[in-house]
């Protein structure tokens, strides 16, 4: 799967309702706090993000939430794909392990399901499903730059 294929899948995502976007925005800080709590409790955290990278991980969670909040309100498939690829490149280059991505994204789904209303979760879940199922593509598309770094 190349960038163009990813773009096609991103363009096929359903539209996000304004109500769901607003609920995500209203809950953003609480969502991030809950996610950090889950991730920081993991005994394998150093293996996931690399020793000394805990603060960078929390920055990523904060940035992720602001990014998704913006995306839900003003969706753009190219922004989604290019940003995710940049994030994978940058964080892998800084020592984040491949297993961090499914761990983080599954934790996001847990937190969203727990803290959002069922309609808001149903509206936003397809985006997180898209993140999760395309992890192998993100990894493959960023392998060369990380190996060459």
């Amino acid at each position: 799967m190349n960038r163009q294929d990813l773009l096609e899948t991103a363009r096929a995502l359903p539209a996000f309702s304004a109500a769901a976007a607003q609920e995500y925005a209203d809950q953003r800080e609480l969502l991030v706090a809950s996610l950090n709590q889950i991730m920081l409790q993991r005994v394998d955290l150093d293996q996931l993000v690399g020793a000394g990278n805990h603060a960078m991980m929390q920055d990523n969670h904060h940035n992720h939430a602001r990014f998704v909040e913006s995306l839900l309100r003003h969706y753009d498939a190219e922004v989604l794909v290019d940003t995710v690829l940049w994030v994978f490149r940058a964080y892998r280059a800084h020592g984040f392990h491949l297993s961090y991505w499914p761990a983080q994204l599954n934790a996001w789904v847990t937190v969203l399901e727990r803290q959002l209303s069922p309609p808001a979760f149903a509206a936003i879940y397809p985006l997180y499903h898209w993140f999760i199922v395309h992890i192998p593509a993100f990894v493959a598309l960023t392998d060369a730059s990380v190996d060459g770094a």
Binding site: R66, S70, R73, H74, D76, A90, A149
Partner: protein, 243 residues
């Protein structure tokens, strides 16, 4: 001495050697060398706008990529950014136009946005055209921006977004400004709007500029339009004064 990264160079007016030397000087934190290279570029007749865009901006984008690929630290990235900001201050006396057009712009980075060099360059472009530019820097709280707009009554507001993830904040700021200042023209730009900027131009009083060249044309067009409008409005007075 920092190892020079191999990256594409943008400018045809500024030599590859100058690009490379400047990048190394930035990475080494060599302020004197950066200033000497700046002087060298300006003495060769290259316009300030080209210096900003093809040397400073290009080098900072390269520095950002070096951080992303973990080849330099955050501290070194901040060092380079601070150096460029200092250079902008030193170039400023050559920027300001002697003739003033008595128009004001207020420029700020969006609330939460920590990057401010782009906004500072935007101010300088307006100063080149004789405007009075009020530069508010990074992370401007919306309520404080509204307060300043009430005080200064500018002709134009500029909002800079360097990172897309602050887009929702920009949209909120636009809503807040529009609610209180319904006809104030607003200029938006920055790297964070590269892909979505044009789609945010939702009304006649919101303008998007993609880069400094586009901004320079925008200001020139604005000045031209303002002169034309002035001519039109003064014509009746001339006619009324006639026989």
């Amino acid at each position: 001495m920092t190892t020079l990264p191999s990256m594409p160079l943008a400018s045809t007016l500024i030599s590859a050697r100058t690009h490379a030397d400047f990048l190394v000087a930035l990475l080494d934190g060599d302020r004197s060398r950066c200033l000497a290279l700046t002087e060298q570029v300006l003495r060769s007749g290259i316009p300030v706008l080209t210096l900003y865009q093809d040397l400073y901006q290009s080098a900072l984008y390269q520095i950002g990529e070096l951080w992303a690929s973990n080849r330099i630290s955050v501290a070194r990235e901040h060092l380079a950014t601070a150096l460029v900001e200092g250079l902008l201050n030193q170039v400023y006396p050559r920027v300001i136009a002697p003739h003033r057009v008595h128009r004001r712009i207020v420029v700020a980075s969006v609330e939460g946005e920590l990057h401010q060099i782009g906004a500072k360059m935007v101010c300088d472009v307006f100063e080149m055209h004789g405007w009075d530019a009020f530069y508010l820097g990074a992370d401007m709280p919306t309520c404080e921006l509204l307060h300043l707009l009430r005080e200064q009554c500018p002709d134009l507001l500029g909002l800079s977004l360097s990172v897309y993830l602050h887009l929702n904040t920009l949209l909120h700021m636009l809503d807040a400004v529009r609610a209180e200042f319904p006809i104030l023209p607003i200029l938006i730009g920055g790297q964070g709007l590269r892909q979505v900027g044009p789609s945010l131009v939702l009304g006649p009083a919101v303008h998007y500029v993609a880069d400094l060249d586009a901004l320079n044309r925008f200001v020139a067009d604005w000045d031209q339009t303002a002169v034309s409008a002035l001519t039109v409005t003064t014509l009746p007075t001339i006619q009324e004064a006639g026989p």
